[in-house]
Amino acid sequence: MTDDDQKDDLSERLRGRFDDPSDNQADDVDETDDQEATDATQSEQPSRSMPETTSQNSKNAKREKNAKNEMNAMRVKNVKESWSATSIYLPEFLDRQLTTTYKHADLGFEEEFGRSLQKTRYYYPLLVALGMERIEQMEAQELQERIEDLEENGAEE
């Protein structure tokens, strides 16, 4: 991982801490909290609630939610601890596109939902899932054409 990747990941983690003021789990992804997260991030002043006295009921609810999250591979607390790392080699022009595409997607996502699109947790898995979905639909001939397209793009660099 380069320093830039490390800084990007760190920035995401830090931003994630402000995404959901009602929950102290940095990486929690409860979709029902979207509106609240949007309110917090769009405000000029930090509109964050301090820790509130949590009732037993909400504690239980939180525990149940946490337990559910632990069962869901996409909702684990720390992806770097729970998921395995896979290295890929990319030509420089694709590596640059990877970053640029992420930045566009992140901006659009943040404008829509008020929180960042976490790169490690969502962007990379989405790339792989969407890529596989597409590849499964492709015939060998089409794959060959796309490889040739890539080679053309590489030659233009």
């Binding site: 320093d3 490390q6 800084k7 760190l10 920035s11 983690r13 830090l14 931003r15 801490r17 402000f18 102290n24 940095a26 917090a40 991030t41 769009q42 405000s43 000029e44 002043q45 930090p46 964050r48 609630s49 301090m50 820790p51 607390k77």
Partner: protein, 258 residues
């Protein structure tokens, strides 16, 4: 009482300078303020002119940490012209080892000390430049964090260690720690590329989420500190950074009470 940890395990990011000037700024706004020096090296204590207290026999901050219920913080707190000071003590160097060995709530001792504090509107704690149990005590006692950083790549990457520590405390103690401000300190104009990139990165990361303040490097800040006072002291030198600390103070005044 609102408590703020001025914390970053990285050295040289102006923890002590910021603690003193923020304590001075809030006191200047009419609040009763206590500055706590949790760094065994005692820079804040010595800067504010309490060298004797730093070298004194018990009771000291060390005694409070070791047996919070047996000592009263009032026995140790000193009066400074602008605010009160809970000084560090040379014995604090032994503290981390003792805390680990004792095993009894080793990271919640300062919280116990704070529970018995009375009469303060604000407490600022100058945290040590390490991620050991003293730092954990400071974070758990304060819950609110002010993070001094420098406009440098090393300061960006150092935040990862701090963040790991914060998240591990939140998990282990079921608490929420809150970053209330980022203080980019010692900023030196004209900016070089590294400073500009770092400032941009802090901006992208915290803008709209957590207030960021830029405190420029000024000889007047250092000279005033060397005279044992904040920029808000009676004899402080004129300095344009006083206005920045006033802005930070105003922001902290808006942070919800405990």
């Amino acid at each position: 009482m609102k408590s703020f940890a001025v914390a970053n395990q990285k050295g040289g990011v102006a923890k002590t300078t910021n603690t003193i000037n923020l304590a001075g700024a809030l006191a200047d706004r009419g609040h009763d303020v206590l500055a706590v020096d949790a760094d065994p090296q005692g820079y804040l204590t010595n800067t504010l002119g309490f060298r004797d207290a730093y070298a004194a026999d018990p009771p000291s901050l060390y005694s409070l940490f070791n047996s919070p219920r047996e000592h009263d913080a009032d026995e140790v707190i000193l009066e400074h012209a602008e605010f009160d000071v809970l000084p560090s003590n040379v014995d604090m160097f032994k503290l981390e080892q003792n805390l680990i060995a004792s095993g009894r709530r080793p990271r919640q001792r300062l919280e116990d000390v704070f529970d018995d504090l009375g009469g303060y509107d604000y407490v600022f704690v100058d945290a040590p430049p390490s991620l050991g149990p003293i730092n954990d005590n400071v974070l758990l006692a304060c819950r609110n964090l002010l993070i001094p950083v420098e406009a440098a790549e090393s300061s960006m990457l150092a935040l990862e260690h701090l963040l790991n520590q914060i998240e591990s405390l939140e998990r282990d103690y079921d608490v929420q720690l809150r970053e209330q401000a980022v203080l980019i300190s010692n900023v030196n104009y004209p900016l070089d590329n590294e400073q500009r990139e770092a400032i941009d990165w802090f901006g992208e990361t915290f803008e709209g989420r957590c207030p960021i303040f830029e405190i420029r490097k000024r000889a007047a800040i250092k000279r005033t500190l060397n005279n044992g006072a904040s920029l808000f002291g009676d004899d402080a030198e004129e300095c344009d950074m006083r206005a920045v600390y006033e802005d930070v103070a105003e922001t902290l005044d808006e942070v919800a009470d405990d």
